[in-house]
């Protein structure tokens, strides 16, 4: 059938409903769009890596990560009622690592705001500080594990130790992944020609980083109170 194909602008075409032939049965009439969504991200379906898409991906990834840690946490809650559970004294280094991670979240946030304002100088410092603090956190976790090992507490010494190593190890892996992403991003962000999408990519990375922070606080509370 002969239909003239014509490109349309981003604005959604609206039809005059009165011109449509009436339908006998009803219910088959083409309706204007309703329900949630429609038109996706408004970027006309193109642009493979827009920033909002990345932020949504991070939110969804967070849901998956939450389920992973929820599973191990509930296993811990079940396991600790057993007779052989011994309370694990926390290695002192985790208080250092906690401080470093909280500070890194702050510096990341400073960086995000600098980028929004477009002040590259402050941004460089903020990104460098975040990377340094993140590495410091991982280093402090390593020290914490060695402090436990020095006391003769290993992975299989007691279920409380097993859960400590497992939870902190899994979290450290996630932080390391975030650091790798941050490194890649930092190189891109610090280029002079970085535009707006970079800003939202940075925002996506910040979201992930803050979540790592929150997740650590949760794990710390779990380990201190029930470990």
């Amino acid at each position: 059938m002969a239909v003239t194909a014509a490109p349309v602008e981003l604005e959604r075409p609206r039809r005059e409903t009165a011109e449509r032939p009436t339908t006998g049965g009803g219910g088959f009439r083409p309706r204007p769009p309703k329900g949630f969504g429609g038109g996706g991200d408004g970027s006309s379906g193109d642009g493979f890596q827009s920033g909002d898409r990345l932020r949504l991906a991070v939110w969804i990834g967070i849901a998956g990560i939450v389920m992973f840690f929820a599973a191990i946490s509930s296993a811990m809650v079940v396991r600790r009622i057993s007779d052989d559970w011994r309370t694990l004294p926390m290695p002192p280094a985790i208080w250092v690592s906690t401080t470093l991670l909280l500070l890194s979240s702050g510096s990341f946030e400073v960086g995000r705001r600098q980028l929004k304002r477009g002040t590259l100088r402050g941004l460089r410092w903020a990104v460098a500080a975040t990377v340094a603090l993140g590495l410091g956190f991982l280093g402090a976790q390593l020290v914490g594990w060695s402090q436990l090992a020095e006391r003769g507490v290993f992975l299989a010494s007691n279920p409380s130790a097993s859960f400590f190593y497992l939870l902190t190890g899994a979290h450290a892996l996630h932080v390391a992944g975030g650091l790798a992403a941050l490194g890649v991003l930092a190189v891109r962000v610090l280029r002079p020609d970085s535009g707006a999408p970079r800003t939202s990519m940075f925002a996506a990375a910040a979201l992930y980083w803050h979540f790592m922070d929150l997740l650590w606080l949760y794990l710390l509370a779990l380990l201190v109170m029930w470990g």
Binding site: M1, F28, K34, G40, F48, M67, A75, R79, D83, A156
Partner: protein, 600 residues
């Protein structure tokens, strides 16, 4: 493409050059979809061969077979399969079928190929992540099959890998098979999580102009709901798998209780809980059933509407039912554990919630029948497969109501009744929907139809074949035949109940069923090169966007012109329209004849 009345012009993406980037390490969702389907077909035939081995062992436990010894010198010394080898075959059959076939084909295969096209996008949201998902899945399949080759052979703890059998080396077999199994599953979990993330972002962010959530084809709803389940379930399986790996390799004791004596040796672990594994496993394991069946439901709704020439009956009810299944699917895992030592109060709650899933399932079933009711039915091969799905879904679903009751489950638990139930509802139903999808979309994917006669012969052989194989298993279960036993010599009550005849009947039906699948393979290969050419871009006169683009679709799906959607997905038999269907991208001017002059 004259069917697209209005479009949004976007930048084109040139296809990659070179064999490797085009066909092997491709980021094109269509190529990845075909790769997933190919992997699923290889896995399905592997799993089927394993089921043949089981059926042969069951009917002739004492007949030596030279070819068995030639193939498996360790597993079948003297041509007789050892009971351990039978269990290894059983474990690998279940694992391969559940993970590598039922999880990959419906979602990774058809979902990858058609979700972006049906929502009017030019690719998935993260194409490189998509490629990574596939190759991780392929790697996990290789690792899984590799378990056959390692010292001690494949694991024998079943696809559910219950500890302590699976947790202690030497409890079942000595060797690393179970470790390979666990590593394979862990890789598979990662792949599925990444893939789920990609599917969700794509569905939410990549829809074209006018494609609202309530204009999505039900296939897309099926894939979207499946991705949500996968996102929330696979992380739990990954966690459980890591715990079990640690129990096996690092002397921890998450799942191993105290006081175990194995081969006259006291095991020096204590305090673990085998039931904990069951909770974690089934929290994933039950939603896994819906990971397989939801995309199948979407495909069946899609195909039934096309060949009934009617809109899907109760489109919104179908979506709500899927949502209810997703939600309820996460709170019924306890019904797998009624006999594991569970408080009757918990069992009551799990039972009630399990019954509740019958409601959305029945809504869907009645809506499929309602879609066909009074329709202008066209009995093509995909239509037959889709109707077959509805039949098997009902037959396998009814027994779910039986098993969901703790008192009845006490009797039926771990009998062939359960085997019959989950094969029909999860395995056969999903596979029939895969056949429906393949015969339906084949002309779009490859420009040629699958041979209609061969497909119909295959359908009838398969349809009666699966009832002949799994129907009698209900009776085996009713006389109390335990599942997973390599042989039942000496259990006289089974012989008196007629088990020998039933087993013989099932095994011979299996031969027929397997032969029919060979016919299917021949059909696919033959049709790829010599099938009837598809007439135009829309040979089935269907309404959704995959039929509006060229055949096969160009690299960027719509050649830089993304269609604007103006109507719902299933507008068949539209009153006063020029044709009996209106595509989602047809404008009103294209659909309706001009108004007659005033006063007419």
């Amino acid at each position: 493409m004259p069917e697209i009345s209005q479009y949004v012009e976007v930048e084109r993406h040139a296809p990659p050059q070179g064999f490797l980037s085009k066909w092997v390490f491709s980021t094109d969702h269509k190529v990845i979809g075909i790769q997933y389907l190919a992997l699923a077909i290889v896995a399905a035939f592997t799993g089927m061969a394993l089921s043949l081995l089981m059926r042969i062992r069951l009917v002739a436990p004492t007949e030596p077979k030279a070819w068995l010894e030639a193939l498996f010198p360790a597993g079948a010394p003297g041509g007789l399969m050892t009971p351990e080898f039978y269990l290894a075959v059983l474990t690998m059959h279940g694992t391969i079928m559940v993970f590598m076939v039922l999880t990959t084909a419906p979602q990774g295969g058809f979902g990858n190929y058609f979700l972006p096209i049906q929502i009017g996008a030019n690719d998935m949201a993260f194409p490189r992540l998509n490629m990574l998902s596939f190759w991780l899945t392929a790697l996990s399949f290789v690792v899984l099959v590799g378990a056959f080759l390692v010292e001690g052979g494949a694991p024998i703890a079943g696809w559910t890998a219950y500890p302590p059998l699976s947790a202690l080396d030497g409890a079942a077999i000595a060797g690393n098979g179970q470790d390979w199994w666990l590593v394979s599953i862990a890789i598979f979990c990662l792949a599925s999580l990444l893939s789920a993330l990609n599917f969700i972002v794509t569905t939410l962010e990549m829809r074209t102009e006018g494609m609202t959530m309530l204009r999505l084809p039900l296939t897309v709803w099926g894939w979207f709901c499946t991705a949500v389940i996968a996102l929330l379930a696979f992380g739990v399986l990954l966690a459980a798998g890591i715990l079990l790996l640690m129990d096996r390799n690092f002397q921890t004791s998450f799942f191993i209780p105290g006081g175990l004596v194995i081969s006259d040796q006291l095991v020096d672990r204590s305090g673990g809980s085998p039931i904990l594994w069951q909770h974690l496993f089934w929290f994933f394991g039950h939603p896994e059933v819906y990971i397989a069946i939801l995309p199948a439901m979407g495909i069946v709704s899609h195909v039934l509407a096309t060949f009934s020439r009617k809109p899907v009956f109760g489109y919104k009810a179908m979506i709500l039912a899927m949502g209810a299944i997703v939600t309820l699917g996460f709170v019924v895992w306890g019904h797998h554990m009624f006999v594991s030592g569970m408080s009757p109060y918990s069992a009551f709650v799990f039972s009630l919630l399990t019954m509740a899933i019958g409601v959305p399932s029945a809504i869907k079933t009645f809506n499929w029948i309602g879609t066909m009711w009074g329709g202008n039915l066209r009995f093509t091969a995909p239509m037959l497969y889709a109707i077959g799905f509805v039949s098997v879904f009902v037959a396998g679903g009814i027994t779910g109501i039986v098993l969901g009751q703790p008192t009845l489950d006490q009797y039926f638990h771990d009998t062939y009744f359960v085997v019959a139930h989950f094969h029909l509802i999860m395995g056969v139903a999903t596979v029939l929907a895969m056949f429906a999808g393949l015969t339906y979309w084949f002309p779009k994917m490859f420009g040629r139809h699958m041979n209609e006669t061969l497909s119909k012969i295959h359908f009838w052989l398969t349809f009666f074949g699966v009832y002949a194989v799994f129907g009698p298993m209900h009776f085996l279960g009713a006389i109390g035949h335990p599942r997973r036993y390599a042989e039942t010599t000496g259990l006289n009550y089974l012989a008196e109940g007629g088990a020998d005849f039933l087993h013989m009947f099932i095994t011979h039906s299996t031969y027929t069923l397997v032969a029919a699948q060979a016919l299917f393979l021949v059909n696919v290969v033959w049709s790829l090169f010599a099938g009837k050419k598809a007439a135009g871009d829309n040979p089935w006169q269907a309404t959704t966007l995959e039929w509006a683009t060229a055949t096969p679709p160009p690299y960027d799906n719509f050649a830089g012109r993304l269609p604007v959607v103006t109507r719902g997905p299933y507008e068949y038999s539209l009153p006063k329209a020029k044709r009996d269907f209106a595509m989602q991208c047809n404008s009103d001017d294209a659909v309706f004849a001009p108004e007659p002059a005033a006063g007419d």
